[in-house]
Every structure is written in structure tokens, then in C-alpha cells.
Amino acid sequence: MGLNVTDLACARGGLAMLEGVSFSLSSGAALVLRGPNGCGKTTLLRTLAGLQPALAGEIDCPPDAIAYAAHADGLKATLSVAENLRFWAAIYGTSDIDTALDQMNLRALAGRAAQNLSAGQKRRLGLARLMVTGRPVWVLDEPTVSLDVASVALFGDIVRHHLAGGGMAVIATHIDLGLPEAEILDLSRFKARFPQAGTGDFDEAFL
């Protein structure tokens, strides 16, 4: 059980962003992606999640192992917190939402419609969704946006708990999550070089 990425190249909007990205994660390990805005963190995570194909390279990971959490939480405004979680639990074929509610400190909000939550509470609900997926590899894009200090610490604990249970996590973030054991990967090293002008087929410009 592990996630091995070798020589991965990915593109955004038809433009190569990253190339030569290699890392490997084994059970219980976390990887923190760093790099300036626009360096391709989200692009890499979307590629890992299978939302876009890689330009080159390989992602070696057991099927149905990755749970992806994007910038947007995927919440339905008119459904309650519990209904939102129950939906995602059903989609992933699990049924236990109580653990996630308790651990993410959402118990008191369970009956409230998602549209009446604050930004930080929505974020907590979005992260609680990860816990009900029951998947071993968490791929998280800026998970701590709009979380307060206490919730960041709570989130750090939950990731650590997930890792202790044999899970893995790939996290793009700018702040310190309190995960000293996590490996750090600076993506600015892998910036794709622009193809040299004049090489390449003329037709490719239109593909």
C-alpha cells in the first residue's frame, strides 16, 4: 500500500506547469506541497485525483484509494450538515457519520442548513466529508483556508489520527499544520521549462 509518483508532468489550460515530479509515500506518511501561488499545486493534486490526465509520468496507486478535497467544499446550501455528510457517506458506501461529526466538532450544528454556516464551519464540514469517505489517501488542497487556530490544531490532530491508522495524505498548504513528521516538497523546483520556440509541429499549436 503506497502512492508512488514517478517523473510526472502536468498541464493547466494546455500549458505545461510541472515536470519531473517524483515522490513516494508509504502507509502512515504525509507529504506537504509548498510553492508560490500559481506554481501548480492544485494542478498536481487534480492530476493525482484523476480529474485530468498527466502529460507524462506515472501515478502508481491502488484504485479507489484517493479522496480529494478541493478549494470548494461541495456542500449543498439547502441541505443540513448531517444530510450533506450522509449523502457523501452513501456515495462512498459507508454509513458512519457520527465519528466525523464528533471529531470535527460539528455535533451541535448537525441540523443546521449548510447555507447558515460560517466559512470556517463550512470548511470543517468539507473536511468531515473526507472522514466519511473511508479512503486511505487524502489529497487536500489548502485545507486550512478560513479555519481558526483551534480548528487548524483540530485538523492537524485528525490528519495525524488518519496517518496513525495507516492512511496517507498529500496536502498543499502555506501554513504550518503542526505535522513535523510530514515530508515537504517544494514544487517550484519542478517548474516546467517552456518549449523552445520553433521546435515542435506547427499543427500542435491548434490541438
Binding site: 484523476g50 480529474l51 470548494a72
Partner: protein, 218 residues
């Protein structure tokens, strides 16, 4: 899958869910046409099949852009695409939910509106049957159009332009079933063609929609 269907239905019935929008449009159209055309029963009875079918088609069109746009905006479409549900299945469920909240109510209310338009009594049965057979195709084709335009801002216009030509066969055969029914002629041929279009659309288009959606989410 069932969870997705239940969620979509629940969302449609909650505040702002858009349930009833198509129905209200259908109702308004059928009420306004006699006022605009004049109350002569012969004229109205002649145009009733066409008006009812055009109304049903436009009412369907009205709610198409909600099928994927809302899920795209709040990020749940990305999450659905990475979930263990096959996207083809999710697309079919979305089309089914659209039909249950738009098409089915139109089918059920159509006899009442037929009354407003002096539809000949022999045609009621065929009106309900043709709508029941034809509107699933409208939902499935519309889902395909919605998948094509999912990432676009204000994609509603493009969606209508893309989908309307694909709706024409359904409209032609659907209205033909009702007018032939009204005249007491055999309706087998147009009804078979209408059912054929629906069956073909239901069988093929979810695959096309899922593929298009995958490309649009890149």
C-alpha cells in the same frame, strides 16, 4: 446512486430548487394562448397538440442549465467525478431526477391544460402517452447539452442553441401522435419513432455526457 437521486430530488423540492418552474411556465403558456388567439374552439383545437408539445419542450429547456451548473459552482461535481460512482451512472441519475421534477409533472398536468385548449376528447390519452414517452428524451438530450456547457459562464444561451435542434425530432413526432389521435387516425408510426428516439437517447447519450463532462472538468 439512489443517494444521488434522493439528494437531487430533495434539493429540487427545497426552497430555490426550481421545482415548479417548468410547470408554471407550461401553465402560463396554456392559459395565455387562448387569450392571445381568441376563444374559437375550432382554431384552438387545431393548434392544441402543437402548442402543448412546444410548451412542454420549452418548459423542459428552462431548467436544463441547473442540472450541472449548480454542482459545478459549489465543487460537488469535481467530488462526484472522483467518487466511486461511475460518471455515466451519475449522469443518468441526474437526467432521471430532471425528468421526475420537470417531465413527469408536465405529463400529469397536460390533460388539464388540454381542456383549456379545447383538445378533442379522443386525443387526451395520446397526449399523455406521447408526453410520457417523449419527455425522457428531452431530459436526456438536455443533460448532454448541460454537460457540454458546464464550465461556461452564462452558458444558458449556448445550451438552448445546442439542444433545440436535437429536440426537433421529438417535437415533430410527439405533436404528430397527438394530432393524429385527435383526428382518430392510427398513431403507431409516429409513436414508434418517438419511442425509438427516446430509447436511443437513453441508451447512448449518458456515455457521451459523461465523456464530455470529464473533458470539461480538466
Amino acid at each position: 446512486m439512489i443517494a444521488l437521486l434522493m439528494r437531487d430530488l430533495r434539493l429540487a423540492f427545497r426552497a430555490g430548487g426550481g421545482f415548479g418552474l417548468g410547470l408554471a411556465f407550461f401553465l402560463i403558456l396554456a392559459v395565455l394562448v387562448p387569450l392571445g388567439i381568441g376563444p374559437e374552439p375550432q382554431t384552438l383545437a387545431r393548434i392544441a397538440p402543437g402548442i402543448l408539445w412546444v410548451g412542454a419542450l420549452l418548459a423542459c429547456l428552462l431548467s436544463l442549465d441547473r442540472i450541472f451548473a449548480l454542482d459545478f459552482e459549489d465543487g460537488s461535481l469535481d467530488l462526484l467525478a472522483t467518487a466511486p460512482v461511475p460518471l455515466e451512472g451519475a449522469v443518468s441519475i441526474k437526467a432521471l431526477a430532471h425528468w421526475l421534477t420537470t417531465g413527469l409533472p408536465l405529463v400529469m398536468i397536460s390533460p388539464v391544460l388540454g381542456l383549456l385548449l379545447f383538445l378533442p376528447s379522443e386525443a387526451y390519452l395520446w397526449l399523455v402517452i406521447s408526453l410520457a414517452v417523449g419527455t425522457p428524451a428531452l431530459s436526456v438530450i438536455g443533460t448532454f447539452g448541460a454537460a457540454l456547457t458546464v464550465g461556461l459562464k452564462r452558458g444558458g444561451l449556448l445550451l438552448s442553441l445546442l439542444v433545440l435542434p436535437l429536440y426537433i425530432p421529438t417535437l415533430v413526432f410527439g405533436a404528430e401522435v397527438v394530432s393524429r389521435g385527435a383526428m382518430g387516425l392510427a398513431v403507431d408510426t409516429p409513436l414508434a419513432l418517438l419511442a425509438g428516439i427516446t430509447a436511443g437517447a437513453v441508451a447512448i447519450l449518458p456515455f457521451a455526457s459523461a465523456h464530455v463532462l470529464r473533458i470539461n472538468l480538466r
